[in-house]
Amino acid sequence: MDNYGGSLLDNGAGAAHCLGMPHDDPDHPHELLPPDPALRVKALETILTKKGLVDPAALDEIIDIYENKIGPRNGAHVVAKAWNDPAFMAALLEDATPVVADLGYYGRQGEHMVAVENTDAVHNMVVCTLCSCYPWPLLGIPPTWYKSDAYRARAVREPRAVLADFDVTLPDETAVRVWDSTAEVRYLVIPQRPDGTEGLSVDELMALVTRDSMIGTGLARTP
């Protein structure tokens, strides 16, 4: 999630852990902080603020953006628009990044977007087994379950059992395709459009598009 520093990246004196040396190194400075998580965060914020390295007003702004501005309604907008506009859907499936950028949904953790469409033949589902990669500009901050060991461990091996935890059962003729987000490419699932939604507007359709349906652990709501 952090930006690549590119050529601006300081090569960091003393970054012994990061350099080419054996990595069974037990040195963990984080153990110097208080063990209680809330106190840990408070201590870090206080140290960084006093050093002038973090501005609390910037922290408030980051939180406000992810609590109130960037979230799964962005993705729902994209899906509803795709349902209602075949040319938009085709462009989205061809190369999603510029298409969602045109709607204002480019940014951190959504630099390389791929949209995958659910059909009767295939149901797509997204996971990050190695960490918690997720398309932030379209879906916001991932839910706790997406970041949980249980989801990360099980989604690739038994996606249908995981879907059952979400009360979703797929027909036997539908294949499940699980996308493990191992690089900087982020995946958006386009859920199947529910029956009986012909003639609905983009705004009306958006209300049917849940966060989970865009991860692939849910289906779109029926009206």
Binding site: Y4, H28, K51, L59, I65, A150, V156, R160, W179
Partner: protein, 223 residues
């Protein structure tokens, strides 16, 4: 061999617990942890691969017992000391010195532009593209960083030594195995590779199911 974070396919983690869409953060300190992590990264002392590796090289016992944002805080604390932004004494409670360089400290007005700019991971590369969609490929038999023993890699153990088929070409992207250790961006072709579930699991849930991973060219050989 990779590390404790590489949990795809593991047994024993229990059910996945869904949660409602509206709850972005569950504790006040979670918000602050996320915001501090993003703000600290603005100093350009590390990239996303370095920060991922900082979490992955937590002691396995800590990785397993820490909640999500506790892992972030521990990884951040270790990075702050590694890169010299914060001293051990300061982490341990000594009065913090004002930093000598606060020129890149993120301010409130800089937050939205920073998030909107993102950090794309595609780069030009001289490495010729070896595979096309439809080509059969095999992943390295051993999932491990070839540059640094015990270092960062994005080939999960569960997909090592497996035969799949190239589905998409994502262009040329920074190689995390190099970038995480400050050894250069080393961009090379990145592919989405699809594997039948039966290639990865002893007891696949369904004969039609598939798993897709994003894999760098150097993780692959022709089948």
């Amino acid at each position: 061999m990779t590390r404790v974070h590489d949990m795809g396919g593991r047994f024993g983690d229990g059910p996945v617990t869904p949660e409602p869409e509206g709850e972005v953060f569950h504790e006040d300190w979670h918000k602050r942890a996320l915001a501090i992590t993003l703000a600290a990264a603005a100093h350009g002392k590390w990239n996303i691969d370095i920060s991922r590796h900082a979490r992955e090289r937590l002691a396995p016992k800590d990785y397993a017992r820490f909640s999500y944002y506790e892992k972030w805080m521990a990884g951040l604390a270790d990075l702050l000391v590694d890169t010299g932004l914060v001293s051990r004494a300061e982490l341990a409670g000594a009065a913090p010195d004002v930093s000598s360089d606060t020129s890149r400290t993120l301010r409130a007005e800089g937050v939205a532009p920073m998030l909107a700019a993102g950090g794309p991971a595609d780069r030009p590369s001289d490495v010729p593209q070896q595979f096309q969609p439809g080509d059969a490929v095999v992943t390295r038999r051993i999932s491990a960083n070839r540059l640094v023993d015990g270092g960062h890699t994005r080939l999960p153990v569960y997909a090592a030594g497996a035969c799949g088929c190239v589905l998409r070409v994502h262009g040329t992207h920074i190689l995390p195995d190099s970038s995480a250790h400050r050894l250069g961006e080393a961009a090379e072709p990145l592919y989405a590779v699809v594997f039948p579930a039966s290639e990865l699991w002893a007891q696949p849930e369904h004969p039609k199911d598939e798993i897709v991973l994003d894999l760098w060219q150097s993780y692959l050989v022709p089948a």
